[in-house]
Subunit: 205 residues, 4 copies
DNA sequence: AATGAATGAGCATTCATTCAT
DNA sequence: TATGAATGAATGCTCATTCAT
């Protein structure tokens, strides 16, 4: 899958081991849960020796953190760049919501880790909450405030709370998708959420 | 050893141990997280011997399940009984939402367990999803459908999805409250959610 | 020790497990060395489960400490009590020296632990040196000083150094005995040491 | 990377690495203890790569052996050469004793390794005892026997035991010095030992 | 019912050693 | 010779669960 159709590379892509471990860990965590996953499983899934994992990560926990950090970082960055060219705040929120569910919908294992495994320990949740997550919420909030200033959204609403409501609704869609036995497309759910949400927060015409 | 040779204790001392263990476990899980909590800690907190825990619960996991089952059971029951006397579907949803946040806001340890600890392992989440949670979601949904039939809510909305959206928004309020360092009242958040939600789902006048 | 003189106790002498583990550990340490000994080996040798070891000792290291503490404690106590009834300081030292080598000569495994295993890590040696060992050296020294006051031993000698010299000579006898492939009696070596030592430190007649 | 493009280095850079590794290992072993020292630490302290260590030594254990072998070899050689020109057996022993403590007193790290680290595993002690150590003891013994033949030392003493006694006393001085928190000169202790020892073993006048 | 001593499976992590470059 | 990334065997300790009393 990796070096398809390239010159016969003699040695395998260097330093992609970190990447391989991260990918393997996502899969393993998704299948067994963080606490039930053994480092040896991750190593085996990544095709490296147990000890090699520790050349790239300080501990099992750091692997989980790294999965989160990388993904949220990417998500926020992509989110920002995509809404730049949009002017209507409603469309901006729509874009953010879609990206949110598209991303998770595209990688079920990652989605499981995000919706389930990362919600465990309070300690982690606190850091999680403090770090990238706060930035994500703030992206939603500032977009909403922009809309308030433009008169598109109801002035009396608390932007912070509104941001949480939108996030919570999307998050619930994702969690339900992850836990559901039925296999349906996650991304389209964004529109149903947006329909109600925008209807609920828009200024009366 | 405890109530030996005392006046005939008024309430049955028997099987209140189950209750004590459940309460202790809630506290311990909330403070340390499920996986980091030791059965011995729970036993100590409940004032019983380690082995005694296993007279009432088959395993550590069953304790977690029981915490969930009892609480959701109570909640659904209380929810049903309270909305019985209300006729306006909007008020019914308002009542449900308030109860939801009031319950969690009244017992922070329980809230932590619900919002954080119960979200761990996929396996548990799946059962969780299957059992009482489904019933709770269905309570919201059927109330919403009642409103649709009454013409109060928009016909074209998918009641199942709407129920998830409301639950997700409330759930996010609770999670944020649990993780927040600030100490504020949780229940009032219900109104802010309801404001947007009802505005979003109500039929245009 | 516990249920002596009771009905034939059905279960084996309670709480002698600590003793059994200590004895087993002495044997295992003597055969394999401290660092090469596995806790599992000790447990097996003591006839208990691995985990049981940790009901009686906090760590593998604590087992080593306990072996030392118990033995030195016993030795110092026995030494003091035996020299009480002796008046001649030379005889007192002779008694101490004999006890020293008799004790070690009576339990080769214990001797190995004392002469070899306990000499490893500086850290341990420092504590070792600080604790019971100091007391033992001081027993020798004060006996020697007593002899100096009585005019039996040369006044100009530094009692502290003299004590170390005697201890060192005895210690070397023990170490050699432990490492030797030949099987000879250790205790009699005390006399040869004493011969030279007393000759060397006694006041000229 | 180091000596690239410099003047042709005067002393052979080759195989001084062995020396550097040995020196580094002595320091590392002295500070952390043999078992707690990592080969990587030694390599780093010696300024070479981990793998390089294995170009000069077969294993970590061989490094320890080499430290011992080299030092004892040197010591015996120096001892022999220095006593050659001395005729009085008492003075010969005095010289040996001084050399013993001077050597250790001059290099605390080496002393720690000798007095503490080398005393660990029985297995090592046995080889240790068998090899150079025996030669050292024999140097003392033959010198003593020479004195016996010359009528200087008491005939009835067992030279082998006497050698151990002297060694043991000196060894104890060294161990005490290594473990002591006070910083004093080690070499002068030789005289105190010799005073008693020679007094104890000399023929009555 | 209650106890708590005993069990033993389970696992993250370390580190001496190897070997492709 | 030299490197240092990769290996994988090895183990102290924890803790859910059992069971004799």
């Amino acid at each position: 899958m990796s070096s398809a159709r390239t010159l016969p590379s003699i040695r395998p892509p260097v330093a992609d081991k970190r990447e391989a471990i991260l990918r393997a860990a996502t899969r393993v965590f998704a299948r067994n849960g963080y606490f039930n996953s053994k480092v040896a499983d991750i190593a085996a899934a990544a095709g490296v020796a147990d000890g090699t994992v520790y050349l790239y990560f300080k501990s099992k926990e750091e692997i989980l953190h790294s999965i989160f950090d990388r993904s949220v970082g990417d998500a926020v960055q992509e989110g920002r760049s995509q809404i730049e060219t949009i002017s209507d705040p409603r469309e901006k929120l729509r874009r953010i919501a879609h990206l949110h569910l598209e991303r998770l919908g595209a990688d079920r294992d990652l989605a499981v880790v995000f919706q389930v495994e990362l919600r465990s320990s309070t300690k982690f949740m606190e850091e999680f909450s403090a770090a990238g997550f706060a930035e994500y919420l703030s992206l939603i909030r500032s977009t909403f405030e922009e809309g308030q200033r433009a008169g598109v959204f109801r002035q009396e609403l608390n932007a912070k709370v509104v941001a949480k409501i939108l996030f919570g609704a999307l998050d619930e869609m994702a969690t339900n998708w992850v836990l559901s036995k039925r296999r349906y497309k996650l991304a389209p759910m964004a529109d149903q959420v947006l329909d109600i949400f925008l209807n609920g927060v828009s200024s009366p015409k």
